[in-house]
Symmetry: D2
Amino acid sequence: AQASAFGLKDFSLIKTQAFIDGKWVDAKSGETISVTNPATLEELGTVPEMGLAETKAAIDAAAKALPEWSKTTAKHRHDILMKLFALMTEHHDDLGRLITLENGKTLTEGKGENAYSASFIEWFAEEAVRTYGEHIPSPFPNVRNITIKQPIGVVSILTPWNFPSAMIARKLGGALAAGCTAVIKPPPETPFSCLALVELARRAGVPDGVINAVTTLKNVGEVGKEMCESKIVKKVSFTGSTPVAKMLAGMSASTLKKVSIEAGGNAPFIVFDDANIDDAVAAAVICKFRATGQTCVCANRIYVHSSVYAEFASRLAEKMAAFKIGNGLDESTTHGPLIHARAMEKVQAHVDDAVALGAQVLVGGKSIPGTSFFHPTLLSDVPAAARVNSEETFGPLAALTKFETEEEVIRLANSTAVGLAGYFFSRDIGRVWRVAEKLEVGMVGCNTGLISQAVIPFGGIKESGLGREGGHGIEEYMNTKLIVFGGLT
Amino acid sequence: AQASAFGLKDFSLIKTQAFIDGKWVDAKSGETISVTNPATLEELGTVPEMGLAETKAAIDAAAKALPEWSKTTAKHRHDILMKLFALMTEHHDDLGRLITLENGKTLTEGKGENAYSASFIEWFAEEAVRTYGEHIPSPFPNVRNITIKQPIGVVSILTPWNFPSAMIARKLGGALAAGCTAVIKPPPETPFSCLALVELARRAGVPDGVINAVTTLKNVGEVGKEMCESKIVKKVSFTGSTPVAKMLAGMSASTLKKVSIEAGGNAPFIVFDDANIDDAVAAAVICKFRATGQTCVCANRIYVHSSVYAEFASRLAEKMAAFKIGNGLDESTTHGPLIHARAMEKVQAHVDDAVALGAQVLVGGKSIPGTSFFHPTLLSDVPAAARVNSEETFGPLAALTKFETEEEVIRLANSTAVGLAGYFFSRDIGRVWRVAEKLEVGMVGCNTGLISQAVIPFGGIKESGLGREGGHGIEEYMNTKLIVFGGLT
Amino acid sequence: AQASAFGLKDFSLIKTQAFIDGKWVDAKSGETISVTNPATLEELGTVPEMGLAETKAAIDAAAKALPEWSKTTAKHRHDILMKLFALMTEHHDDLGRLITLENGKTLTEGKGENAYSASFIEWFAEEAVRTYGEHIPSPFPNVRNITIKQPIGVVSILTPWNFPSAMIARKLGGALAAGCTAVIKPPPETPFSCLALVELARRAGVPDGVINAVTTLKNVGEVGKEMCESKIVKKVSFTGSTPVAKMLAGMSASTLKKVSIEAGGNAPFIVFDDANIDDAVAAAVICKFRATGQTCVCANRIYVHSSVYAEFASRLAEKMAAFKIGNGLDESTTHGPLIHARAMEKVQAHVDDAVALGAQVLVGGKSIPGTSFFHPTLLSDVPAAARVNSEETFGPLAALTKFETEEEVIRLANSTAVGLAGYFFSRDIGRVWRVAEKLEVGMVGCNTGLISQAVIPFGGIKESGLGREGGHGIEEYMNTKLIVFGGLT
Amino acid sequence: AQASAFGLKDFSLIKTQAFIDGKWVDAKSGETISVTNPATLEELGTVPEMGLAETKAAIDAAAKALPEWSKTTAKHRHDILMKLFALMTEHHDDLGRLITLENGKTLTEGKGENAYSASFIEWFAEEAVRTYGEHIPSPFPNVRNITIKQPIGVVSILTPWNFPSAMIARKLGGALAAGCTAVIKPPPETPFSCLALVELARRAGVPDGVINAVTTLKNVGEVGKEMCESKIVKKVSFTGSTPVAKMLAGMSASTLKKVSIEAGGNAPFIVFDDANIDDAVAAAVICKFRATGQTCVCANRIYVHSSVYAEFASRLAEKMAAFKIGNGLDESTTHGPLIHARAMEKVQAHVDDAVALGAQVLVGGKSIPGTSFFHPTLLSDVPAAARVNSEETFGPLAALTKFETEEEVIRLANSTAVGLAGYFFSRDIGRVWRVAEKLEVGMVGCNTGLISQAVIPFGGIKESGLGREGGHGIEEYMNTKLIVFGGLT
């Protein structure tokens, strides 16, 4: 990997090694993973193919660093995280570009992700100094109760490629702020953003061993197993697919580890007859096609009331006509490529399946052969039985379904095993409260397609996850310890 | 089972059937489980041996009752729980007696447990109406964020025999207050306290299907599996042993269920040289021998500083000389029987092992053959390698070990995979903070052997558990839902 | 006073003496105050005319009782308050009747007030055991910070006649729960509800001296001054008019007393063009005419959008045609009398003033001579300059004003020095958030005319008050004490 | 005033004008106030003598700026305050020097104050984005309650000379973070630190009119009155003497303004027989002599148990022998001058009074004539009747009194009308809890003489104040608004 090839201002942000105990290291085997730019299908560079031994070493390093780091004051960790925030802000352009290069999203989106990512570091720095315990009145006259919050210990962090930086920052920020040390397994598709973040944390003063990053692709089975089953690790935080989540949760059960999971969604997007159609169309564009449909909170099923169905469909089609797919570095590009071939196949399969069942293609419907670009697609009259209505597409496919009543659409929206995000558009205050309360999801967007903010509790219910990130998410990395004082008289 | 044989004022509190969808039912197979009074080894009565089919029926009933119950106001649930609290108080003598009959603990302890059990019902009634969500300032000008708390859904509750009533109340109180419905699997040794509680809940106005209780012994494998793997159930709350906890957590992973676990402990009890020895001895009596040593927060390892070791040992032996084992219904009894033969064998094994390794028997050391009574035992100079120092005895065995320095004893105390409770005795404010912070447990008793109160966060770290009960424990039964409002201008 | 004349089931709830240090006492002077039933203008009975000496004695008694009461556990106080709650529920009919007899409101309203009053006692019982302090992470490594909540001390409580029971319960509940002792000055118009409450508190186990009640009319100046200026008293809680509030606040400044004030309001009630008119009319009936318009959160100014003005006016007039004024004990009565002649005069003055300025009388407009009954009145086209738009009427006068734009009506609504409650009717979610945020009041009713609940923070901004009652209102009776621990190593 | 005379790196931090509506202005009258360096008694420079007209203009400017500033997002205000924090850190040396020049404290103390001052700006920036409201479960099925926090409006800030920067930052940080605008009246002795802070706030992007600073000396009566009585101002925050506090509170009552007061203390400092004497002596040096005894939390009365009295006295005297009074800019100086002649006279009067009543002078006891330097003084056997035991000395006078029992010293410590801080030294955990709970103060130092941190609730009880600053102190600048939603079905 030629660092200069990335076109960054600060070449030294490009790291092509894993990071263990404060040192940049290669795999013992010497093997590497090739990382590709999805827009060009060219190799960006390589990172080491780490395995079980290196993972154990990383966990050991984290364990070794824990006693000292966990005893630092919250203010000390706050100040280091604030320095990291400042560095992420200072290197905004480079970090945004790096995201675009390895993930494919547009530069605007890449920079947006860096800002979002940095916002978690700042937020958790501020949360660190607010990890209040309690003084709890006792029913016994001569007893005093207090609780204190203590770091949970060594944390395993496993994250996906669709937010190469932000998913790590959301976990790592909470973990470091709490006083934990961490081992990160970044996604093999997008490791460079992770490694750049680690490098900046090092520059900010995070001590050796506090953060470790282990890159892996083919050894992911043994690496993930060790991260979940190690007796040293006390917490696993994972963002990714529901099947993998279940597997990791099962492995973590062997030591009763605390587990946070942010798994797959299948977000309904509902447009009622009393919606502001302008708002609904604009939100659909963002909510469905952001990152070319590759976010876990993207709308997956679009339900539109019959009385506004035609209008909504035609206006969305009109907006989509202005989309321009291409390399995210190109300023005119509105939508980048998908991450890889498997992603392309799934979108095409969802389109073909729906069409076979009677759906009509209003816009797009196919990919550009030999590339990772799929034309943003709008399907009309998608039947309930279509796969897109029960599986997450994770691509630029907007599938419209007509509905008649509030009760019907609530039932449709809730007819899935997952429950991450849901969206609806209505102006009536009564319906707003009713629908917001009834949607079986962790997060509801009402008249908006954008819900992500560092301050909110991000996470799902049902099979979409366990725990919440952002907001009070530092709690996920802390134990509440009760201290009961007796013998006071 | 002859209800009158129990000697209760209100015979109708004795229920010998399981409870599903508001009806008292037998097993389809007609099979029953014999329940024995451990003090007399006589049969108290029988309960049905339910299986997979009945468990599914119970879960279905809970699911059917959920929509209406979950939509009641928190105040409505508060009022019903307050009625249940009043009924438990009204039937205090009967409920205490029932606990003594099936568990063996003394009547004082039995009534104490009923009061403790009722305190959870009252506490969670009051918590129901305080399940506040938040209004969260947004970084975006035209966005408003709020969060609300919603019941998590159908809950599986699995509890042990050592607190036949309180362990259920601590879970059920939180679940009902939150708006959840529940399926309870009580322990086969002590089902009657559970069923009496269910009966009182019914009288208090809990609707059909909201609480279901399934008794089982030999079918426990299939029943437990269904309670953890059912797609309908959204939460499992378990108190019991660590190995079972791991198994249930593993099964629950298959649907990413939220799991609360209160598993085994191995509590250190440390007496420093600056301790008040009176306090320490008195606390050891309570903390080690309460319920004849059969609580998860009982002291398991007693570390005494060399300078006060002899004094502590002789004074504890003196106190133990006044113990009187016997039927808990007998007023002069201070300590009741163990629960069953397996329990007897484990205590004897721990004694024999320690003695074989060089420990000295200061008091007791053996059982009364043909009974479930084990003489409260005090061992001196127990070596580190003894099983009692690494396994929970769950019986009336106090094992003393000498130590020299604060650092040494902290290391000893923390050298275990579990971490529920820990106790220490010291008067120095500096040591108090240091040791309280360093003990790797969820709950610390400082100069006291009693930590349990409805108001505190009960639970452990490491392999002792997940989540906290009591205190803010209603959170374990609720989802936080985010609602983001856009389109406001 | 003939207790039997009140027609209560439990005659002993009628107390005609003041209560100091656990004893029912007369005034030293022997003077009394005559209490009249406003529906019949007949004397109900008398209470003592206490003065400065008795007030000092009451304060001294409260001071003497403080050390012991303040040291009881929160759970102990919780249990006593729960007994008081149970007694208030048990005597529901009597207490409701008593309110009707001395205040004039209908029996439904009287009983409603008793339930509301009792709800504060229950609420604060439950709050007592939740007065959590904090453990605050320190920026210094060897420092530990905790805070605890302690009762503020002796509290002076001064309340008005329009809620003879609930205004006292809202303050007394918080004060007792916190561990404070209290001196109450009930209103001379309605002292019996206060004294009955005190009697029930005594029966519930509140110790001597913890609650004291001093009745006064002509000596109110010296009594109030002592209650505010005494060096012993640490807190004054007042509900009443803004001018008196300012006077008491000024007196309290002499000792830097903590002061809670719930003073006058002048609630706007806004009906937008997108309102549900059914809801708005129904709410206006409740919000304007509840207690015959004599509550501090009654609508005082009704602004209706021009497009729905005629409809709203005619439908409100229609509803008002069904009103029946009369003795509150009569089941057919919908609206009772005003409290006294001064109240009658003010309403008539507001009507006359508005009519003189051009308003039209749609319904009512005058009183029944020789009684305290004023015909519920509806005025149309009330000009901005009318007194009713700048002064609180505190009577059954609904004054309608037409408006055109959201901006205009917000300006009108906010053009007053006070800001307690405000109401508006609109279905649009955007307007709902906008208007709710812009109204300069402490409490907003959106599509409802009823906001009072024990769980909410009741109170105003601007010249309507200081502090909040209900909800977290126990805080008003507690000090936060910081404890910083050093020297830990 | 010659800016260069101050010796700052950035001369432009020296502002000699008041600041109104974004402009640096002189008094209309042209009059000025002379500001003196207390170490040299030379004039440092002048600031304008503003009066009523300028105060009204400042209030009007704050009112004009309010609508826009209060509508900014909390994150926007957070970011501006973070910039201010960065600027205060960048100009650390200059700002510390400025404090030393006008206040006299040593440069170490001056810089320490700047760091402390900046810590409030950072803290409240972070608090701004955490001003959570609540979603409150309603007892009514179709009602939803939420609360939001809104800025209280225009704030008046009045502060003393002993912390020229930090007292302003503690208030201004909270006010700005909350979305309020402010008028500051800095002390005439030390206006330059205030004006430098205002200048940096301007550079950080605080808009015109949001902060205004009005300097005054002889017109302080009319200025203070307007700041408290203006109908525009909604909140007064004052730090200073108790008599002035009472006066301002009285004036503020005329509009029911919300008032925060941090007034005088008279801190007891207790050394028990089980204290660590090293710690106690070291703490006494800091706690009594910090800022030459001129802080409101300085120990004022030192009670030492008879068994350790002699040792404590001699060791404190020994430490004091190493004190070096002098110009704070001189590195060897440990203690600077007093602020002015009045302060000198009070200390001398307290010394003379105690000696006249029988106290013995162990160290110091007099001033250096013609200067503002008073020799740090240690008095032994100070009788209870001495003025130093009932009045705040606010100077370098340590007055020792012997005691025998815990009960006696608690009584002595509490025998005062004020209650800000209190300190005690004891190692026993039982005594620690007992004494900490019994001291009638807002803040307790246990085995430490330093309690100040931005994170803690700073403030007193009794006549020492109203409200708390730091910690959750942003609440003092916000109103809680309740929004009740009805009509939802």
